[in-house]
């Protein structure tokens, strides 16, 4: 299974979050919206020039800044 960070995923890729590579604050912020190890996500889009990444989880969509997105480690679904 391929393990990547969120910014490396292509639009439309699906995967499972395995790890949040950041401090307590980032974990708490992401976790509040349900972005935590075990969460199944789909990458929706990314903006040009290291802009925010958009993901979908269930019926929730969220935009995540590039730096924060790099801290989200995902196991790609084949």
């Amino acid at each position: 299974m391929e393990r990547v960070n969120l910014t490396m995923m292509k639009s439309g890729d699906r995967g499972t979050v395995t790890e949040i590579n950041g401090g307590q604050r980032v974990k708490a912020r992401l976790g509040a919206l349900g972005i935590r190890p075990g969460a199944k996500i789909t990458k929706k889009s990314s903006q040009l020039l290291r802009g925010p990444v958009t993901i979908g989880m269930g019926n929730t969509q969220a935009a995540i800044g590039f730096g924060m997105a790099k801290k989200i480690i995902v196991d790609l679904e084949q």
Binding site: A32, G34, K44, S45, L48, R50, P52, T54, G58, A63
Partner: protein, 580 residues
Amino acid sequence: MRRLSDPRGRVNMKKILLMGNPNVGKSVIFSRLTGVRVIASNYPGTTVGYTRGTMKLSGEKAEVVDVPGTYSLNPTCKAEEVAVEMCGDGDLVINVVDATNLERNLNLTLQLLKKDVPMVVALNMWDEAKHIGVTIDENKLEHLLGVPVVPTVAVTGEGIKDLVQQLPQARPGRLTYDDEERWHEIGRIVEQVQQVTHRHHTFLERLGDASINPISGIPIALVALGVTFSIIRFLGEGLIGYIFEPIFENMWAPLMMKLSAILGSGGFLHDILIGKLVAGEIDFVESMGLLTTGLFVPLAMVLPYVFAFYLILSFLEDSGYLPRLAILVDNIMHRIGLHGLAIIPMLLGLGCNVPGAMSTRILETRKERFISTTLMAICVPCAAQLAMIVGLVGRAGVRGLIQVFGTLALVWITLGYLLNRLIRGESPEIFVEIPPYRLPYLAGLSKKMWMRVSRFLREAIPFVILGVLIVNVLYTLKVIDFVGKITAPVITGILGLPREAVAALMVGFLRKDVAVGMLSPLGLDFNQLVVASVVLAMYFPCVATFVVMAKELGLRDMVLSMMIMIAATLVVGGVLNWLL
């Protein structure tokens, strides 16, 4: 002491808190329960302060509080802090849950259950959940959580009656879990109560995806911007040209001329009520009488644009487009120490700077709030001022409008860039939930329009009339002559304006629209008009904005912000004067 002296018997009043994730419909439910009108939109963070209202609960009056949305009880921004602080002193919590996002919403629900407060869960957006193929067994959920669960559709009012009936049954939940195990617990609950059937993507969802993809999203944003401007211009000009001006010119002017004749075409009372006649006629912009200019400016020059602007803004808010726009502009905003969501204070500020300054609470840090508030107060003219600038400068050609608004945009970027360098602190990255596109409900939209337009009328007309009155008094008492002489080095020396322009700057503190109108009789040339419009937009906020800014920023930052404002005005005004 307060308990004893409170005359309204607040002591016995139960306090009901409406709590839930952002953008789940708390404000709509609040309006339904209390009849109090509040602004509700389709983006997270519409409610940044709390609103109170009352309702009957078991025959007794109870207080209902519309609390800002929060994802968890560990706050990450000021609006969430407000929510968490409120949480402690409720007698009853209505936890509003978005039925289309049960799992994520239960995270807060479970945290609230630990607070041991009597609670009822409102499963809101029930219709939308059904529509997208989500079914929830509300009885089972009620059983698992141990508190009443009521399906609701707040925008149509469905289920609100049941919710009210269930309130006396509110009780602390019986669910116990280990904090570490919260998401597992949520997973177990969701598995038992929710069923999802697969279905095809709707048109709105495809549009939603298209507008966050940069290749299609940027063209969509440009089209949206173009359409917005055209509609505002078309509506504003149409309302002025076909309705308001004819009414004033054909019906009100003859009446006022009669009054003028009765008052003897001159004298103190005449000058206050009717103002100065221009070539023997009333000039609604220049006469400066309470009954002429005082009514014409707010009603016939400003109201049409305020109406048109809020119509479009309200539509954009309710559709869910704003967070998507925030993502597209995120990159630019980072250059000035903000992130994409800071576009929201700027857009709201274009209507009125007061809600604009309030909405900076959706930003996380002091640095962001300082930069966004300062930039908005300096570079974003409110709709009333915009309308007057369009009316006065636009008369002389589009070039002037481009110069005025181009300058303000340039200042916005340059100043933002500098502030980002100079102000210490953190500029975190954007992290925002993107709501689905929704077709705005006509009832909700018109209610919001009515609230905003009537608030404008209530606040604008008295202040404009007060402004006009003060102008007259100051002229009569020769105060303006006096201040004009003192400030001449700045006004004339640096800005190149006649010294009477100081009157507009003085009144601008009260109402910026009147201030712009006061430039009209000064006989400024085209370039002076451009400089004066820019200076009036930048130099100082109106009194209402001033008060809110002081409250939001605190005294120290407020003083700093004012100093930046005045310095920027002098530099920009001086450079413009020199260039033009």
